[in-house]
């Protein structure tokens, strides 16, 4: 297990370097002159030169890349000339909103997705199982922001149950955004849980448990569910990426001042250092979550760790 963890951590180094590389490339792909695009045509020459220098564009690309990595190590992601504040500070202010929304979405995802998948698997041959399974693909096809607008219209305006925008009403303001983000992805969860449950239910140890006369419900929960949930868990790494992309749209629709709306406002203000910082932070977060999921996975199913270390191939592959 220790060897497995060390191996996974070592595999992280090239990935982190790559993420930093892509992030520091961003300033170089702007067509035309980036400082003019940021600050407009009529910027005075002194400011122009200062900003250009501060962005590190007077240096060759490699030095700029190394400077970005140094900055990251010291916890410095650059400076926003639009807001006149360090990027770290701007991002840190927005994080709590997104975290609350993410927790809400994750809760909805788990509470709705897993039971729906299990029910669909148990009732596989019945009409209720079919309905669950067919509706999961419809819900899964809902893009989060369209789901958000539908919910705003129906639950927010027509029924008036939840606030439609802003974050003033405490956790209640996060219900609709959480639903919009969590519900479509819970369908993915349900489909996975169903497939894995159907597979587990044909295993010999389940059949033997049932033939020993154990109550069906107990076999399902104690023997089936435990093993069926492992593939579902590994997929949570994927949700992190989907959540990060979903934040931008859902927070924009619901006017929540989180990371997502920060992306939106930074895009409109051409606040490039903020965008670069957010891209780096979210990739870092996604990579670390995936690592965590892998470690939990290896803990739940010890065969994984031995196979990967034994094979002597790169764990990330």
């Amino acid at each position: 297990m220790v060897r497995f963890i060390v191996k996974r951590l070592l595999a992280l180094i090239p990935i982190l370097l790559g993420i930093s590389f892509v992030s520091s490339m961003l300033f170089y792909i702007v067509p035309g002159d980036i400082v003019t695009v940021m600050l407009g045509q009529h910027v005075d020459p002194l400011t122009y030169a200062n900003v250009r220098k501060a962005l590190g564009l007077d240096l060759p690309f490699w030095e700029n890349f190394i400077r970005f990595i140094q900055g990251v190590f010291c916890g410095d992601l650059g400076y926003s000339y639009i807001q006149q504040r360090p990027v770290n500070q701007i991002i840190l202010e927005a994080v709590p909103v997104s975290v609350k929304m993410g927790i809400m979405a994750l809760l909805i995802n788990i509470i709705v997705g897993i039971p729906a998948g299990i029910l669909a698997a148990i009732n596989d041959k019945r009409i209720s199982g079919r309905v669950l399974n067919s509706s999961s693909i419809i819900i899964f096809s809902f893009p989060a922001f369209i789901a958000a607008m539908f919910m705003q219209l129906i639950l927010g305006v027509k029924l008036g149950w939840f606030p439609v925008s802003g974050s003033e009403k405490g956790m209640l303001s996060y219900v609709l955004p959480g639903l919009a983000l969590g519900l479509p992805l819970s369908a993915v969860n349900a489909r996975l849980a169903r497939a894995s449950m159907l597979e587990v239910m044909t295993q010999e140890y389940i059949i033997s448990a049932i033939s020993r006369g154990l109550p069906y419900r107990r076999v399902i929960i104690k023997h089936g569910l435990r093993n069926a949930l492992i593939p579902v868990l590994t997929n949570f790494g994927m949700f992190v990426g989907a959540f990060m992309s979903g934040f931008v749209l859902t927070e924009t629709v619901f006017n929540l001042p989180g990371m997502g709306r920060l992306v939106f406002s930074a895009i409109n203000a051409r606040d490039f250092p903020v965008l670069r910082g957010i891209l780096f932070i979210s990739a870092l977060f996604a990579v670390l979550t995936n690592l965590l999921v892998d470690l939990i996975y290896a803990r739940l199913d010890p065969r994984i760790a031995t196979v990967i270390v034994g094979e002597n191939t790169d764990a990330a592959g």
Binding site: P14, I15, G18, I19, F21, V22, L26, F27, I29, V30, P31, D124, K125, I127, G129, R130, V131, N133, S134, I137, I138, F140, S141, F142, P143, F145, I146, M149, F150, Q152, L153, V157, V240, G241, A242, F243, M244, S245, G246, V248, L249, T252, V253, V263, F264, A266, I267, N268, R270, F272, L275, R276, L279, S282, A283, A286, V287, D314, A316, G317
Partner: protein
Amino acid sequence: MPPVRRFIRILLTVKPLLWGTMIAAVISAASVLAPLISPVDPLAQDLSASLSAPGGQWILGTDALGRDVFSRVVYGSRISLAFAFWVLTLSLLTGTVLGTVAGYFGGIVDSVIMRVSDIFLSFPSLLLAMIITAFTGPGMVNLVGVFVVVYWAVFARLIRGQVISIKSMPYIDAARIAGTGPFGIITKHLLPNCFSPVIAYGAMMMGDFIIGETALSFLGLGIQPPKPSWGVMLADARNYLFTAPWLMLAPGFAVLITVLGFNLLGDGLGYLLNPKQHERVGVSYGNTEG
């Protein structure tokens, strides 16, 4: 059974495939025949009819500038489908070339290609697309380019996996012994046999690309107004959500149905093209899927 009848039988047995094919066919037909279907020019403004409710002369109502929502939704399908088609083609092409090279030749080439793809896959994909587009600027061509950069790695991995699993098959060895060169083996024996999961996955990804285009256009990063992209229409509709909900419902349902169609198509093709599942078609699948 003759192949045509067999195909129809499979189509009728695998319900997702049937529905997916139907929806995809209807949407494609609508986009090709857009000038015939839509009653008026999608850009024609009629300010006297601004924000008319659906019904009567305007099937799905009009927007704030008095443009016909139905015509705009129909023309929007052209943008979405063309975009998804180009992204799929180009990222599949890039992914196939790199994935085959990595899988077939292995060694250092494989390691380099796979480490680079790891890096691209570690970013949240749509967020990466949004942020790159924020730097490169909006527009159809930029958008296609950015999506290819973001999504090629997915296909490269898929193809590489297929190539590796097929390349150790006896018939590949036989071809090699018979004197076929690497190029011949790849094009004649490897690629034709590794495409079936890719086709199903590609259909699913069409839905993702359409969502991506809509999302970026919604944020003002993709297709620019006044072009009738569904995302642009949804962005306009936000301001009138409470007074003119049809502005949101029409493009919203258009996106939903199109994405659903491609997801069903991918789902159905996945069952059809997977040999293990194929035997079960009609036995298990046909009975479980309403």
